[in-house]
């Protein structure tokens, strides 16, 4: 049994392995970081403000003497909730729109796809900014705006996957059997569009982190006192030259997270999509 699982591991691309480990660590941090944090994240400590990394504060403290390591660990949840939440939202919306559009075709397809085209006519960060400007900042609105921005991309991937299945023998058979539309869509088509959807989801997740963290950096996403990483950088960018750790600690965390997701995406693509067209 053990030998068997090791053999599987050998065939897994290195990027997939490293990527899932990194993303796994961040997910774990998001789940239990609150409890592991050595200090209270809101605890002001004016005598220790802006102290550089030391044995008491491994990653230093910010302008109120709050422990950077604790804030970083607690902030993982906020950052991950926004990214995962917005991708989940765009996944649900995109899946429904893409399935209906590809399966129905005709006028419904035309109307839905033209609507998606309009959403895609905006650069992604710009549309997210506009939506957040209208709705106001905060975690939920950030999820909503980033979710809307990424919906068309998912819808298109789903739609083209559905189109490539239309006319396949097993779909025809299901329709001739008299199965309902919902059955055909979700029991026959859905399982078959899984591989491209997973790869696309992973790519979107990396962009979702980037866009949502950028929104927070610009002061329009998560709001203080949330220890969201983008917000931590945006609020304290004036300290960059005098107390660089305050800015660099969340900056490195964000970069590692996006790097991990990108490696995971590259690995998944290699396993799920590229292998088939390999020879």
């Amino acid at each position: 049994m053990r030998i068997h699982s090791l053999r599987i591991l050998r065939n897994v691309p290195g990027s997939l392995l490293v990527g899932s480990i990194v993303v796994g660590i961040f997910l774990l941090l998001a789940a239990i970081g609150h409890w592991l944090a050595p200090y209270d994240i809101e605890q002001f400590n004016m005598s220790a403000r802006l102290s550089p990394p030391s044995p008491e504060h491994w990653l230093g403290t910010d302008r109120y003497g709050r422990d950077m390591l604790s804030r970083l660990m607690a902030g993982a949840r906020e950052t991950m909730v926004i990214a995962v939440g917005s991708v989940a939202l765009s996944l649900v919306l995109g899946l429904v729109i893409g399935l209906i559009s590809g399966y129905r075709g005709g006028l419904v397809d035309g109307a839905l796809m033209r609507t998606m085209d309009i959403v895609m006519a905006f650069p992604s960060l710009l549309l997210a900014l506009l939506v957040v400007a209208v709705l106001g900042g905060g975690t939920l609105n950030t999820i909503l705006s980033v979710g809307i921005v990424f919906t068309p991309k998912i819808a298109r991937v789903v739609r083209s996957a559905v189109l490539s299945l239309r006319g396949a023998a097993f779909i025809e058979a299901a329709i001739l059997r008299g199965e309902s539309d919902t059955h055909v869509l979700f029991r026959e088509i859905f399982p078959n569009i899984f591989p491209p959807l997973i790869v696309e989801t992973c790519i979107r997740l990396s962009y979702a982190v980037l866009v949502s963290v950028s929104l927070s950096y610009l002061g329009l996403g998560a709001q203080p006192p949330t220890p969201e990483w983008g917000l931590m950088i945006g609020k304290e960018k004036s300290l960059l030259l005098s107390a660089p750790w305050v800015v660099l600690v969340p900056a490195i965390a964000i970069t590692l997270l996006i790097l991990g997701i990108n490696m995971l995406g590259d690995g998944l693509r290699e396993v799920l999509v590229a292998k088939k067209s390999h020879d």
Partner: protein, 317 residues
């Protein structure tokens, strides 16, 4: 002649898209709680209902949003984007001033990053699996993973804090010599260049690797053509096709990147104008800035499609 019809068709499509985009912006903006009149009167608006109503009539915002939109469109086609509430001046001149500043960042970044990323991508693909390819892949992977607001500060720490070569903020760019301009632009342009270099480079490499696997490349090799000729004359042209699309998409990304980079370096471009407008809840200014930016993006996509056609002989006929 066919090409001509294609271009006219695309141009009409572009106009239709811009129309739809401007309607979408107006509709979204109408959801904003509060309006321009409340914004102008500020704290006064609660006390003086009559003044508020009079101001609404004067500004034309007592109408439903589609009537306001029709008015806006009428003005916009004549090049008048209305007046800024926060600055109380016409928007069009400021907007184009800021747009020019932004292009001063974006054009050098594009001119440097596009040829460089083509070179890097092709080099990596040709040497696939060798150390140089692993090196290029690793560096570009890190490049796409570092957000602009992380890379920018790191460059500031190194080049303005430690080495003290460049200023860390790009405040004013008017009335300054070429050297001063270079010093101010260097770090923001470097940030943008690195980001899009990594992004495009990865795509070029991937598409070049696919092309090099194709039968006609094997054919060219079997004919005994030197590898250099196979790569440059046969493979490169075809793998440029998806790259053009990627570059166009990258322009949308670059616009987002520009907003962030301008914020990092306090650069007076169109991105910081938009952020200012959002902060001040200056509705006409938000509407105009978003519209002009989206229009620039759509036009860039159109140009990319035309370039795609020019490169692809199958689509030309």
């Amino acid at each position: 002649m066919k090409v001509f019809y294609y271009l006219v068709g695309r141009l009409i499509l572009l106009l239709a898209t811009l129309l739809a985009v401007s309607i979408a912006i107006s509709a979204i903006m109408s959801l904003l709680p509060g309006d321009a009149a409340e914004q102008i009167l500020g704290a006064w608006s609660e006390r003086s209902g009559a003044t508020l109503a009079a101001l609404r009539t004067r500004l034309g915002i007592d109408q439903p949003w589609y009537v306001q939109y029709a008015d806006w469109l009428q003005m916009a086609v004549r090049g008048d984007l209305g007046n800024s509430l926060a600055l109380s001046v016409p928007i069009t001149p400021i907007l184009f001033d800021r747009l020019a500043n932004t292009l001063l960042l974006a054009i050098p970044a594009a001119l440097i990053s596009i040829p460089l990323s083509l070179g890097l991508g092709v080099w990596g693909a040709v040497r696939k699996g060798r150390p140089i390819d692993h090196g290029i892949s690793a560096v570009t992977l890190v490049g796409v993973s570092v957000p602009a607001f992380v890379l920018g500060p790191i460059l500031i720490v190194v080049f303005s804090g430690y080495l003290q070569w460049f200023p860390s903020s790009s405040g004013l760019i008017q009335g300054s010599g070429a050297t001063h301009l270079f010093l101010i632009l260097a770090l923001p342009v470097l940030t943008l260049t690195t980001e899009s270099l990594a992004y495009i480079g990865r795509m070029v490499r991937a598409s070049m690797i696919e092309t090099l696997k194709s039968p006609y490349v094997r054919m060219a090799r079997l004919k005994g053509l030197p590898e250099r000729q196979v790569v440059l004359n046969h493979a490169l042209r075809n793998s440029l096709l998806p790259t053009v699309t990627v570059i166009a998409f990258n322009i949308g990304w670059l616009i987002g990147g520009v907003v962030v980079v301008e914020q990092v370096f306090n650069y007076p471009g169109i991105g910081s104008l938009l952020l200012f407008a959002i902060e001040q809840r200056d509705l006409p200014l938000i509407q105009a800035t978003v519209f002009v930016t989206a229009a620039a993006y759509c036009t860039a996509n159109l140009l990319a499609d035309i370039a795609y056609m020019a490169l692809n002989p199958r689509l030309r006929n």
